[in-house]
Amino acid sequence: MAIPISYNIRNIVQRPVTTLATGSGIAMVVMILIGAFALASGFQAALVETGSPRNAFIRRTGADSEISSGVSRDAANIIRALPEVATGPDGRPLVSTDLVVLTNLERVGQTGSSNVPIRGIDPASLTLRPQIRVDEGRMFGPGTDEVMVGKRVGRRFQNLGIGNRVKLGQREFTVVGHFVAAGSAFESEIWGDNAVLMPALDREGTFQSITFRMRDPARFAELKKQLEADPRLGVQVQTEREFYSSQSQILAGVIRAAGVFITLIMAIGAIFGAMNTMYAAVGHRTREIAVLLTLGFTPFAIWLSFLFESVLLCLIGGVLGCLLAIPINGITTSTTNWASFSEVAFAFRVTPLGMVLGLAFAAVMGVVGGFLPARQASRQSLAAALRAA
């Protein structure tokens, strides 16, 4: 017969300070684990949501990022005329020919600078990206020296506030608006008219990428084969979503690996703490264990009971860790995505999966930390236990 669970619960409640101290140690580990995963998920989400699965994304063969790519105006015209390109309500093809370059800007509130992408677009192509919404101010005027800035970089870099003048290449531009793009990486960019930006940045003649809405996304594979085989183009084709999520893989992987590595080491320390607590619990209860044995509980039941108590203790810590991690959700942070060599601002995203993982990790810590103390408890001989009393 198993020892009732209420026995364990009472024991844990009996020593609140010790429980809290041990639990908090576990909570820190769980919090860091959830935090690292929230960071990776947030970063990945920002990039994945940048791209739509209905859009095809075209860059030069071999280019591993947008900035190192180059597609000629001729190729752009060929693509614009493809029958596979969807048309807007006005009958124009839904194609965006983008200029993407980086500019080095000084940060606000922190010394140093970082690379911010500038995207020159054809203003008519905004319908291709319906997630873009002006949050403050207004959209840049076509053919003018105006730009709009993603909300997340607008506050992080100097001269990107509304009304500010910012020098991009040879010309000064006026920031007329801040835009949001559903939390995607576009919010970390500066957008303007490519007809004005291309001469200012000395990039006439080539675009970095071409994005178009597919008339029939189901036929993507055929389309890809057709375009990549076309010798006039020299391009590679992915769906927009595929491209952006591939840009996030390395950094997200690094963050997750680092998070797991750090928490594993940290967990060893916390497990030692749990072991201390459980050994002390076993030591204090020598007499109780003797009574349990006398009552006819098997050593196995006692082992199980102490192991369960250890898991319970760690799960309390795990829940505490989850609670501590919740406020992290939504905090914006930024770093350079080395895949694109440019700054990406994104929000921590605490996911249910991360929390479940954290709790599971806490339970594992409980099993590992409680194993030896529970074994000691179950191996006590009745005579020795009663004599100790």
């Binding site: 300070v17 909570a27 820190m28 080095n104 922190q110 690094v254 320390g269 916390a270 350079t336």
Partner: protein
């Protein structure tokens, strides 16, 4: 029985607990120092070379090149001793995209003399023809100098890929399309670990002719100064020269240039710092809990000691000293483990970082934190023990 033997007896009474607690302090401090070590490493990477070298890049950003005609104009600026060019290549291993490393096209005749104090050539192919070498170039580089497609690779990269001298490595260009064969003709060792040993250096000429259609564009210029004390003025006069051209420049010390890369990490260093503190806090709780448990078990004993005439202050000191020894011992071990272990193995997080350095400042801070942990974790139990009334202590049955 003197004071310290009393403390020692207490520490050894429950050996398992002492060892477990000490180990968790070791782990905490190891982790703390390693995390701070990452920040130290980033800081150290700024210190490549000295303040006496300048770097000129396009003002808009690094990805924009500058015309090659700037080379001779910069070299003519008074105070500039020599100028070299360096161009990011960004090639990929066509077989294994994960096997990533940096490649630069450099003007070898000027590049190697400028960095003579930072790198040593440790292995090289014998030269096939006698060629006159430019002054200041290591004679071991003769084979490399006489071959257009030759390259020099870092020792670590060389060993990691199990390459051999004379072997051809083919890369797929991302910025400069095509398939690019390189012949390994020499291996360098970085005397300054911050220089990094996972880089491939090859002839800028090769890049220019094959990748730029002979129209030289240059990523950055590296300037060695004959008057390093005038670095600020020289940087200004270089930038002034190109101020109104279509390729305006930004010239800064190599130090500031590298700092720009560290700044690109954004909030990451801050997050690493936060994690370090969380680790310390978690283990502080473990240590405090242990000390409280230890003191609680000894209540009646403390009553006896007080009856024998031990002063409150002595009792306080005994308990506190016990905590201090556990955390200080663990802290010293953890901090030195990080310092010696990481630096000794030249850990580089799979190529993400230059080989790790853990500064003495970090070690000192780590040990300081351990002392603080000892003080805080021991304080409450010590205070409780010293305040204990003999009657209460002896009345307890436990």
């Amino acid at each position: 029985m003197n004071f310290f033997s009393l403390v020692l007896v207490n520490l050894l009474r429950n050996k398992r607990r002492t060892i477990l607690t000490m180990s968790s302090v070791v782990i905490a401090l190891f982790l703390f120092c390693s995390l701070r070590g990452v920040l130290d490493t980033l800081q150290a990477s700024i210190k490549v070379g000295s303040e006496s070298r300048l770097v000129t890049r396009n003002r808009i950003s690094l990805i924009f090149p500058m015309p090659q005609s700037y080379w001779s104009r910069i070299a003519a600026v008074p105070g500039v001793k020599s100028v070299s060019v360096q161009n990011w290549f960004g090639g990929r291993d066509p077989v294994d995209p994960k096997n990533w490393y940096a490649q630069f096209g450099v003007d070898a005749a000027t590049f190697f003399p400028i960095y003579a104090r930072d790198v040593d050539i440790v292995a090289a192919s014998p030269p096939q023809v006698e060629v006159p070498l430019p002054p200041g170039v290591d004679p071991k580089l003769a084979a490399f100098m006489s071959e257009q497609t030759a390259c020099v690779v870092g020792e670590r990269l060389f060993k990691k890929n199990r390459w051999k001298l004379g072997q051809t490595v083919t890369l797929a260009g991302t910025i400069y399309p095509g398939s690019w064969p390189f012949v390994i003709r020499a291996v360098y060792h970085a005397k300054d670990p911050a220089f990094g040993e996972e880089t491939m250096l090859f002839h800028y000429k090769y890049l220019e002719q094959k990748g730029m259609g002979g129209q030289g564009a240059v990523g950055i210029y590296v300037l060695e100064l004959s008057q390093p004390e005038r670095a600020g003025d020289i940087a200004k006069s270089v930038d002034a020269m190109f101020e109104n051209s279509s390729y305006a420049t930004r010239t800064e010390t190599e130090h500031a240039f590298q700092a720009g890369f560290v700044s690109m990490y954004g909030n990451v260093p801050f997050l690493i710092g936060v994690i370090g503190l969380a680790v310390v806090f978690a283990i502080l709780l473990v240590a405090a809990n242990t000390m409280m448990m230890a003191a609680r078990e000894r209540i009646s004993e403390i009553g006896v000691m007080k009856t024998l005439g031990f002063q409150d202050g002595t009792i306080f000191a005994i308990v506190l000293a016990e905590a201090a020894i556990i955390t200080l011992g663990g802290g010293l071990a953890g901090a030195f483990l990080a310092k010696l272990g990481l630096e000794g193995s030249a850990f580089n997080a799979g190529g993400l970082l230059p080989p790790m350095t853990v500064s003495w400042t970090t070690v000192t801070i780590g040990v300081g934190i351990a002392v603080f942990m000892g003080a805080t974790s021991g304080l409450i139990p010590a205070w409780q023990a010293s305040r204990l009334r003999i009657v209460d202590a002896l009345r307890r049955v436990e």
